[in-house]
Symmetry: C2
Subunit: 138 residues, 2 copies
DNA sequence: TCATTGTTGACTACAATGGTCAACTTCGCA
DNA sequence: TGCGAAGTTGACCATTGTAGTCAACAATGA
């Protein structure tokens, strides 16, 4: 049940964008430097966030990326889903048809409850919440 | 954030044992057949459960495995921990020393809350709860 | 037109996962 | 006391996923 660096780095990158929200286009280079992530790797992390419609990019000189919506309207559940795929700990929670045992499987109930609990946490926190906490710490 | 087959199969094996609790030693072969898990692979899944003190094994003719404690006293958090290691989605939650940013990191707060929510679900469910649900469904 | 910046995809290295096999140990029972 | 049933251990392998690099390319502003 570990998160990959995709989720960890990706969230840090978005948090960085949230902290610089309203400042226009932010070059990936700057994010990479501040968050200590390889620029090349960061490029790969940004791609799914663009696909998910969370960030918008402009290339060319003075280009960069920025958040499409205000940070207060970006739930962490969206972020994690974009970066890591479905939050379900096992696939049969999302799609019961994958396993013939689904209907009778008591284990599946647990995984289902587990996901619910996780979604609840991630649904109730926004990038803005995170940015505020971060600012308080300097 | 996916669970590996270790966690999925392992829990199914323990649930099988819970359903046959009180019947003495259960051969791995029987569990493997009922749960449709390769016997050889099941042997590997049982090992950490023995180490964690959740099951006891006896080898030789008429040997097998059984639960050390009654199913009502085995929390799923123990099970998952034995099978998958720490429940923490990122290591720095368990050991802040791993990352210099820990103290200032707002992301870490989220992972921490996420783990709390998961632990709460897994702490409040026992193998007996699961076994009861399973019996009701036939 | 040129430097800057994001985009894309190939490629590599490494580790984890899922699984098999075989030698070994232990124990019950005839 | 020895045979066979059953779990134990560890080597081994194929596949997949992860982390990361690199280079060619496209678009943009100055």
């Amino acid at each position: 049940m570990k998160l990959s660096t995709r989720g960890r780095y990706g969230l840090r990158a978005l948090l960085d964008l949230a902290l610089h929200d309203g400042e226009g286009l932010i070059p990936l280079k700057d994010i990479a430097r501040r968050q200590e992530i390889s620029l090349h790797y960061l490029e790969h992390l940004i791609a799914p966030l663009i696909t998910a419609g969370l960030v918008r990019s402009t290339r060319g000189a003075r280009g960069g990326v920025l958040l499409v919506k205000p940070p207060s309207q970006i739930k962490l559940s969206e972020v994690i889903q974009a970066l890591e795929g479905s939050i379900a700990p096992v696939e049969c929670v999302r799609d019961p048809g994958l396993c013939q045992r689904s209907a009778l499987c008591a284990s599946r109930d647990v995984w289902s409850e587990l996901m619910e609990a996780m979604v609840q946490v991630l649904d109730s926190t926004t990038l803005e919440d995170l940015a505020q906490r971060q600012r308080k710490r300097g």
